[in-house]
């Protein structure tokens, strides 16, 4: 099939950008969206033009590197990562708009590549359990009730792709932050740092310039791993509890 792509091109962080139109031909419906962009980049390279820069790595939906806003939706029309989106979800002759994640906390680096290091700093502020290597007790010393273990896993599935921020009308990182807070706070191992964790991570989230939550629900709709909305309410509860305790 043949498609018209309108892609955000921006040569550098400080340079102005614009939407540029490209035609791609003979696209197989079995291609992933990134493989479709690969073919465009091959053509551009052969012509001596600079290929479209985009982040990608594992291409199996788990590393969280890829991500672009396709026709106004983070990761496109299917609930999955961009690398696992296939061209069979588009029709011959379609025009597809491709833009980078947009948020003050995710400045564009080049084309579709953005800087998501703010997420790393949010995790660094408290998204861990302090357990220096070698200090761990025997793994069976503390039993973890299965529901708590399952809840922790459900939140730990977050891949840090940033689709939640990209989809949120306020560029908010609440879903990302709440996923990590809830993962660690429901586990007995995470209990000693339960209060400082949520207070510090929320504070860092604010420092990074993410917006606040207005319960629009766009984040949970866009999340390729299905982190649910109630995750945010659970973090709010943790936060108020922690604030009250200090």
């Amino acid at each position: 099939m043949n498609l018209t792509l309108r892609i955000w091109r921006q040569p550098g962080a400080e340079a102005p950008g614009k939407m540029v139109t490209y035609k791609v031909e003979d696209i197989s419906p079995d291609m992933s969206f990134l493989e479709m962009l690969d073919t465009l980049n091959e053509t551009l390279t052969e012509r001596g033009e600079e290929p479209v820069a985009f982040d990608h790595d594992c291409r199996e939906g788990i590393c969280g590197a890829c991500g672009m806003v396709i026709d106004g939706r983070a990761h496109g029309p299917e609930r999955t990562t961009t690398c696992q989106l296939h061209m069979r979800h588009f029709a011959d002759g379609d025009t597809v708009d491709i833009e980078p994640w947009r948020a003050a906390a995710f400045p564009v680096v080049r084309d579709l590549v953005v800087d998501r290091s703010a997420f790393d700093r949010v995790v660094g502020a408290g998204g861990y359990i302090t357990a220096p290597t070698g200090s761990a007790p025997e793994a069976h010393a503390t039993a973890v009730p299965k529901p708590a273990a399952d809840a922790a896993f459900a939140h730990a599935e977050c891949i840090g792709c940033g689709a939640c921020v990209a989809a949120c009308p306020n560029g908010s990182a609440m879903l990302f932050t709440s996923a990590k807070v809830n993962h660690l706070n429901v586990l007995p191992q995470g209990a000693p740092e339960r209060e400082s964790r949520v207070l510090d991570m929320v504070e860092q989230m604010d420092v990074e310039g993410f917006g606040g939550c207005t319960l629009a629900g766009e984040c949970a709709t866009a999340c390729p791993k299905g982190i649910p909305m109630p995750s945010i309410a659970a973090m709010n509860r943790e936060y108020l509890r922690a604030a009250a305790k200090r």
């Binding site: 197989s28 419906p29 001596g48 790595d57 199996e60 861990y128 070698g134 069976h140 922790a152 191992q189």
Partner: protein, 652 residues
């Protein structure tokens, strides 16, 4: 640079001088006792560079920083959390014996040596098995959400054909969860200022001063800036080199540049031909394919593998009657059937496809049929066990695995070979360490399922932090300032890097880097893939230097070196693949036995199975670099087996 080499010189054997002797179960304790310690107050004054942030690098960086060292860490990804360890599905082995099913450290040690087809060191493997239990403790304390039973205790499953249930798992995302544990520990150190993290920065060369590894040359991928980082020791945790094959289950940007540059600077490269092929991947759908996706091999527990009996049978699978199907694994290996080890299942699939009986596009696939399992267990039970895999298959192929058999095909998955290291994980360049998949590892010629995660974390959390101190304690650490900008070694290394990037940018040819990668990958897959012949390897050894010469003349890399330029990154990595591929083929050519992942058609038992030649090849092949395009020198490290005595594997 372009004369093919098929001959090599044999040098002095390489000796592992750090390996302690005595009873195998006391060696690690002894080594730790004999290792010199660095006074905790002095650790801050030692700078250690760690390249890579996967399971091995992430855990090493966090642990070294906790111990008090000043760590400077690098990854090419935008965040340390994205290293490809994240994609490991199955699980992690540990000899906890929680099931009371007869498991022990010794059994894990035994299984790993045997599974590796007797091409690994007993000392190392025993240490790995000993440490395995502490890894689980550590990860649980970090909050890794392993699967649990209703009583709240950890669940395990059996994996990879072993008879005990020792694999801990977090649904199909064990690698992700373990990596996030290490990443979070690392993030804590970054926030505390003890780890200086450089994301989007790629190591392009190793700095060797007075025979010791003293730093790296790295490129900031956003600005193109080339920096030299000086340190007291360098740790490479940069993963394997499976992407030499172009199509593999590795991440697209996984590459061999760090280990290959280190090899060129004097680190021996061990067993490069030991590559592992995973039998249950989703077949390629066309020439546009950019990478392959693995499905957990647990599918083989209930699925039956077959192809049509007649070559070229184009009927839909449901139209092929039962007596016209060939369940070839069940036929050839009646006692193990569909559960034969990875290498055997993979080769059998290749053989039937070579006979023209493959299915799907290009005839590169075999059926994995769940019809019997569905009839026997019911859809609900199958969904419970394999639902997410079925969903993944359906998403990628747009075929319904519930109504028609899945198609699978083998793919490159892991590389057992890597930089040669001694018992302390130090390479032949003093001060340069290699951990995780980057070293030639504890897996011998074949890795067992759920052992890669175990090895990466054992190296990073427990082995390296203990052995690195010994090296640092024995060397001065106050001369870093002497290695300045005008030091000849710094000058030479940065010059080499910039010249090379300049050459890539100015070649201005007519072929894309990707096209060379595809061609190289196809060549290796054909001649140095699942089965290898002398003829094929010689052909590849002839073609690779030609391809390399063509690459430097005809490659086209648009853009500049002073900004984010993904074409330049890729071309630079492919240039190294083009050199490493040659060494892989030479190693495969020289090892005329079949063992583990390395199958030489010429070396088979009368019934067609892999035949090892222990007398001739019971060694690790460590290769020394002697110059671009020049034959390397082989330094064998003989292997001794005092506990697990070599036997021929048999699965019939």
């Amino acid at each position: 640079m372009s004369t093919p080499y098929t001959r090599y010189a044999t040098g002095a054997p390489v000796a592992d001088t750090k390996a302690p002797d005595g009873p195998v179960e006391q060696r690690w304790t002894r080594r730790r006792f004999e290792a010199k310690l660095v006074n905790p107050a002095n650790r801050r004054r030692h700078t250690v560079i760690v390249v890579g942030t996967g399971l091995a690098g992430g855990s090493a960086g966090a642990t070294l920083a906790e111990a008090g060292y000043h760590v400077v860490q690098f990854c090419y990804q935008d965040s340390p959390r994205r290293a490809h360890s994240v994609a490991a599905q199955g699980g992690i082995n540990a000899a906890k014996n929680y099931r009371n099913d007869g498991d022990s450290v010794y059994r894990l040690f035994y299984d790993t040596v045997k599974g590796g087809d007797f091409r690994s060191r007993e000392s190392n493997v025993h240490r790995l098995a000993e440490i395995s239990t502490a890894i689980i403790d550590q990860c649980v304390a970090q909050g890794v959400p392993f699967a649990r039973e209703y009583g709240g205790l950890l669940d395990t499953r059996s994996f990879g054909g072993v008879q005990v249930s020792r694999t801990f798992y977090a649904r199909g995302q064990t690698g992700q969860q373990l990596l996030l544990g290490a990443y979070q520990a690392l993030s804590r150190q970054i926030a505390a200022g003890t780890v200086e993290m450089h994301p989007r920065t790629e190591m392009l060369d190793l700095l060797v001063v007075d025979g010791r590894a003293r730093g790296i040359v790295a490129r900031d991928l956003l600005t193109g800036r080339i920096d030299t980082y000086v340190a007291d020791a360098v740790v490479l945790a940069t993963g394997g080199y499976g992407n030499v094959f172009h199509l593999s289950t590795n991440a697209k940007n996984s590459n061999a540049t760090a280990i290959w540059r280190a090899h060129r600077r004097g680190a021996y490269f061990a067993n490069p031909c030991f590559t592992q092929i995973h039998p249950t991947c989703i077949p390629r759908s066309g020439d546009h394919q950019s990478k392959l996706t693995l499905m957990s091999e647990s599918l083989r527990n209930d699925g039956r593998i077959w192809v049509p009996k007649v070559p070229g049978d184009a009927r839909a699978p449901q139209d092929i009657p039962e007596d016209e199907r060939d369940y070839y694994l069940e036929r050839l290996y009646p006692s193990f059937g569909n559960l034969v080890p990875r290498d055997i299942a993979s080769r059998a699939a290749k053989n039937v496809c070579d006979e023209g009986r493959g299915v799907g596009p290009g005839g590169q696939g075999v059926y994995l049929d769940f019809a019997d399992a569905l009839a026997r267990l019911g859809r609900a039970a199958v969904e419970e066990k394999y639902g997410n895999l079925f969903e993944m298959y359906a998403r990628i192929t747009a075929e319904d695995p519930w109504s028609r058999p899945m198609r699978i095909y083998p793919a490159i998955h892991y590389t057992m070979g890597g930089l040669w290291v001694d018992y302390d994980l130090m390479t032949t360049v003093p001060g340069l360490f290699a951990v995780g998949e980057a070293n030639f590892s504890d897996h011998g010629a074949n890795r067992l399922g759920a052992s890669a995660l175990m090895q990466g974390l054992a190296d990073g959390y427990f082995v390296l932090p203990a052995t690195l101190g010994d090296y640092l304690a024995r060397h001065p650490h106050d001369d870093r300032e002497d290695i300045g900008e005008h030091h000849p070694a710094v000058h030479e290394a940065t010059r080499a890097v910039t010249d090379r990037l300049d050459a890539l940018l100015s070649a201005n040819g007519d072929r894309t880097p990707e096209s060379f990668h595809r061609e190289l990958g196809a060549l290796l897959w054909d001649h140095c893939g699942m089965s290898r012949t002398e003829e094929g390897l010689r052909k590849a050894l002839e073609r690779i230097p030609e391809l390399r010469a063509e690459f430097w003349q005809r490659v086209r890399v648009p853009g500049s070196g002073q900004a984010l330029n993904q074409s330049l990154e890729k071309a630079n990595r492919i240039a190294d693949h083009l050199e490493l591929a040659e060494l892989m083929c030479l190693d495969a050519l020289h090892r005329t036995e079949s063992c583990g992942g390395h199958f030489r058609e010429e070396s088979r038992t009368p019934d067609g199975e892999a035949a090892r030649k222990d007398e001739e090849f019971g060694y690790v092949a460590a290769w020394e670099f002697t110059g671009a395009g020049r034959s390397p020198v082989l330094h064998p490290e003989p292997l001794h087996f005092a506990y697990v005595h070599p036997t021929q594997r048999s699965y019939t």
